[in-house]
Amino acid sequence: MSATTANNMPIKPKAKVGSMERQRMWAVRGSFAALSVFVVMFLIPPFYMIMTSLKSSAEISAQKGNPWIVQSPTLDNFIHLATDPSFQRYFMNSVWVTAVVVVLSMTIAILAAFSLSRMGFKGATVLSTGVFLTYLVPPSLLFIPLFQIVGSLGLINNTWVLVLLFPTLAVPFCTWIMIGYFNSIPKELDEAALIDGATYPQILIQIFIPVALPGIIAATIFAFTVAWGGFLYPLAYLYSSDQATLTVGIVRELIRGDVFAWGMIMAACVMAAAPPVIVYTFLMDYYVAGLTAGATKG
């Protein structure tokens, strides 16, 4: 399809350029056309999420006309949710859990990465490898033994369980990213500082953290994503409504078998998806750079 659109383009008479350049121009046009098709396909669910969130229950149940377009848009679903105490609680639970998890994970990761990258001790290499291996352990492998463990700690149905468990998912990758960024800082920089009498805490705070700020942003976004979107742990360990975070609150509490509540469910999804979308809009470049650091070198 992309090829035909490119071929039908009238060739401008003044475009008397080399065949390679003309080929290149068509490749660009074809790419735009093909990308447009992909973008439309990829954006169907978020588009429909927003459209449904603007519909009233009556409009959904009537099933008249095109479901893709909202006929009488209303913000009732959003207003209802924003004033609903239980939805507020899910939101606040997600906010504080995410905030604590991000701070905790980043502290652990930065300290460990600094130590592994610069100070060194017996077994540091083994630990770095171990960190990478734990990053490859998916949450669904250990959630059942962890159920018993957090149960014996008395943390079942307590939101704090997430503060304990989400760092296990976030810290390994954050540490891995930070080691990479710290390693890219020239050794001469901290050696010079050491000779000038700087202490390790000073080197970390005054040199490493500012220089590796892009890496810190990337790792922070990762920790944020893990904590905000986590689903399995809250679903398995938190059963009462007042302890639920957004993802579980929406999936478990808002769905009551009543099909016409879908406008509200989708509105809740829009509100819960907004923070990550906003974060990524502004900080995407850092995150992509951090993620692909391994892919671009070498």
Binding site: A27, S115, P138, L141, Q148
Partner: protein, 316 residues
């Protein structure tokens, strides 16, 4: 006189501390490595307490009976292997992971090439739009997919009917549901492959393509002889990593089908959840999860080998 004494004093200062300085340096380095260990302590505690210990604990749990009182050896594993619904889980997990990863890698590869063709500032905007599926929390977008697939309100079916086709029960029959689950995972994961491959594409030196073009190589030949060999390693790492994550996937199946229809879409993770948490048979749930372990460990071994090899190459 005064000068001489200072000289002597000075020389004695430089002479005598030589062995002491060595000792203090050693002490300093020992103190430094102690401090280094202390800084790593939270990380070590986290890994040992919440990754390594639970792994061994899972092995212990899996050998208990339902009431967790008696030791039953490998009975749980034997029982599971003999159960048709679990045999289905093994088949489905493999089908799901392999198909979805191939689809994601393929679409991601195409997207990366398309993105690489368009240069300039607009690339950022296209990239941002294509990354949306990957940015929305998976459980929420899966909920939207569920609504799109809804038997009586499906917007897809409305479109099909409008175009004059028959309606499709997306989640109603076993194979439809399997394909739907794979489609949602592909939708979610393809953007990740796109950015990894795009980064790898950008690192291929442009001169190689120019030289090939001068030698008369076509687009296909450039792909086979330049792009693929240059990207080989990153393709391998991404695919292996994604196999691990996809194999252990939970959110999509749990929300979209909850394992149904007729246990036709359960994966290891969702089956472990329904056996271990919902039915309360913790030991058997732990055994279900542990079945993933050899597969994931093998994949992780290859990822690690490639990553370490790569780091070494980069360092050289």
């Amino acid at each position: 006189m005064a000068d001489g004494s200072t000289m002597v004093a000075g020389s004695s200062v430089t002479m005598s501390p030589a062995p002491r300085q060595g000792a203090s340096l050693r002490k300093l380095s020992r103190r430094r490595s102690t401090a280094a260990l202390v800084l790593c302590m939270p990380l070590i505690l986290l890994i040992v307490g919440l990754k390594i210990y639970p792994t061994f604990y899972a092995v212990f749990l899996s050998m208990l009976d339902r009431k967790m009182l008696n030791f039953v050896g490998l009975d749980n594993f034997v029982f599971l292997l003999g159960r048709p619904s679990f045999q289905l889980v093994i088949f489905q997990s493999c089908l799901f992971a392999i198909t979805a990863v191939i689809m994601k890698a393929f679409i991601g590869f195409i997207l990366a090439h398309l993105m690489h063709n368009i240069r300039g500032p607009s690339q950022r905007i296209w990239r941002g739009l294509l990354l949306v599926p990957w940015v929305i929390p998976l459980s929420l977008s899966t909920l939207t997919w569920w609504w799109l697939f809804d038997p009586s309100y499906s917007a897809f079916n409305w479109t099909l009917k409008w175009l004059g086709f028959d309606e499709i029960p997306f989640l109603g029959s076993v194979w439809n549901a399997r394909i739907s689950v794979i489609a949602v995972n592909t939708w979610f994961g393809a953007p990740f492959f796109m950015i990894m491959y795009l980064a790898a594409l950008k690192s291929v030196p442009e001169q190689l393509y120019e030289a090939a073009a001068i030698d008369g190589a076509g687009a296909w030949q450039r792909l086979i002889y330049i792009t693929l060999p240059m990207m080989r390693n990153i393709i391998l790492i991404t695919v292996l990593y994604s196999l691990i994550v996809t194999f252990a996937d939970f959110d999509i199946v749990r929300i979209l089908t909850n394992g149904g229809p007729q246990d036709g879409t359960h994966l290891f993770a969702t089956y472990a959840f329904s056996v271990g948490i919902q039915s309360g048979n913790i030991p058997r749930g732990a055994s279900v999860s542990l079945f993933m372990f050899p597969i994931l460990a093998t994949l992780a071994f290859f990822v690690l080998r490639d990553v370490l090899k790569r780091n070494k190459e980069v360092a050289v």
